[in-house]
């Protein structure tokens, strides 16, 4: 390959949405392709993206949303393989309020926790409200952070509902703190909410990188696709078994549960469904005037060429 040493940036490597990356790493698929992949872990997808833009990382494993946003800012980024078909965003409500709040419409006047203002979890709430005819200002959005501070915020009653991703959701569920209202970890939920597939975890980079290093890109895609295929039909326990011990040692049961809840999210072959990017753009541009104003050629945000080649091997 043109570039046997590759640096991948990821915003939270141990997060379950990026599971296929760890699978490929743990099973040695990158090495099998003759690549020396170094995975740099960041706090959050936007930090990982900045590492790419700054030139210190070659590719990013992150959310598709970012590609769309950055296209609007004139950065020619493109996804080369899709790992998550569904965004995995979940809206839950504190158990005590479960009988009062049955749909997003009931959130009016309540405090909703999100990872960070301006993040996907935040827009997810806005989107749900908009679908019910409510305005963003009808709820109070509170940033609760990504990790256990989110748990703390719910348990202390600092927020009434929470829009978050794994592992926070399953953890809260297991602790009996929330009841899930809206769930996009699976096909039904995602289609009910977004009316179509919504691409999530993606391996992406600059178009220039892809053009300059087609072989390297191909091999990376090969490894990821192989990991996705390996995951097909595996049980949560089987997947957990190959994970680094650090991921599950604290509470294997909880981790297995999280994986089980998430297995449906992953793409079985890595292909971007054609409707996916449109859904993403539609949702994102609802709350971002700059994005709405920008002319974005969605066909440039991804390519299935590498995946197709990988699948024919």
């Amino acid at each position: 390959p043109e570039k046997p040493k590759v640096t991948l940036a990821v915003g939270g490597k141990s997060l379950v949405v990026y599971l296929p990356l760890t699978v490929a790493e743990q099973l040695g698929y990158f090495a099998d392709e003759g690549l020396d992949v170094r995975i740099e872990d960041f706090k959050g997808g936007s930090a990982a993206l900045k590492a790419l833009l700054g030139g210190s990382a070659d590719l990013v494993v992150g959310y598709f949303d970012h590609i769309v946003r950055l296209q609007a800012q004139g950065r020619d980024l493109m996804g080369v393989v899709l790992m998550g078909k569904y965004p995995g965003l979940v809206l839950g409500v504190r158990t005590e309020l479960a009988d009062k709040v049955k749909t997003p419409a009931d959130l009016k006047g309540l405090k909703v926790g999100v990872t960070k203002p301006g993040s996907s979890t935040n827009y997810f709430v806005f989107y749900l409200l908009a679908k019910e005819g409510l305005k963003p200002t009808d709820v109070a959005i509170i940033g609760v952070g990504g990790g256990s501070s989110a748990i703390a915020a719910v348990e202390r009653g600092q927020v009434d509902a929470i829009s978050h991703v794994e592992p926070v959701i399953t953890t809260l569920e297991k602790r009996g703190q929330i009841k899930v209202l809206v769930d996009t970890r699976n096909k039904e939920g995602t289609e009910a909410v977004f009316g179509g597939p919504y691409p999530a975890a993606t391996l992406y980079t600059h178009r220039a990188f892809v053009e300059k290093n087609p072989e390297t890109t191909q091999r990376l895609v090969n490894a990821i696709v192989r990991a996705l295929q390996w995951m097909q039909g595996k049980s949560a326990e089987e997947v957990v078994a190959i994970m680094p011990k650090a991921y599950y040692q604290n509470d294997p049961e909880l981790y297995t549960e999280i994986v089980r809840n998430s297995l449906g999210m992953f793409s079985e072959n890595g292909l971007f469904p054609e409707a996916g990017p449109k859904t993403a753009y539609k949702v994102l541009s609802m709350f971002d005037e700059k994005l709405a104003a920008a002319k974005i050629d969605l066909s440039k945000t991804y390519t299935n060429a590498f995946v197709e080649r990988a699948l024919t091997r």
Partner: protein, 259 residues
Amino acid sequence: MDKRRVRLLQLALLVFLVLGWEFSVRLGWVDAFFFSKPSEIALRIFEWFKSGEVYRHLWITLAETVLAFTSGTLVGVAFGLWLALSPVAAAVLDPFLKALNSVPRVILAPIFTLWFGLGIASKVALGFTLVFFIAFFNTYQGIREVSPVVLANARMLGAGRNQLLRHVYLPSAASWILSSLRTSVGFAVIGAVVGEYLGASAGLGYVISQAEGVFDTTSVFAGIVVLAVFVVLLDVAVSVVERRLLVWRPEPGQEGGTV
């Protein structure tokens, strides 16, 4: 040395930095995505103040900073005094304090949320843990630097423990303590902003965090600039206190009688 020349030089330096920045961006030497442009940042700040939306955030951050600063300083100074005057306690607690000071506060955020909720208190707590140690270490050392002759004199004149504190230890350690204030003003702000950044619903850190989420570097820098101006103003306040407390010192070059 005169005030006006200093102000002029400062202005010149500022203009130079700002222009350098502006042109580096415009000429494409640095990437606007990461650095934005001073002109845009200025515009953004102007808009913030014009629309008035920034006041609420500024006010919250100010409150957090001032609370963290005063509580951290007071407790740090008190603790420093106590330990400096109780050698055994100091020897025993020393490694514990050092160890505590090395804990990255960012990691403690969940615990702060758990204990203090998401409101002002948890940000104040975060700032407190930064300010406290700076005030503590400086006070501790300052007290130990007290001139033994002056101390002995005050004791012979019948000073009790509290009187020694008030009339000897504190004035003597004043320049140490004030110096710690200089450093910790900045850290108090950092505590507040990082706290907001990690989870909040208002404050400058919140604004910055939100801007970061949508890659709005201009707003991020606008936030930083507002912050910085804010700290410089706070520091002026500290300087005023310092000048009032240290009237008794020889100004450099005016030490006639002593030399």
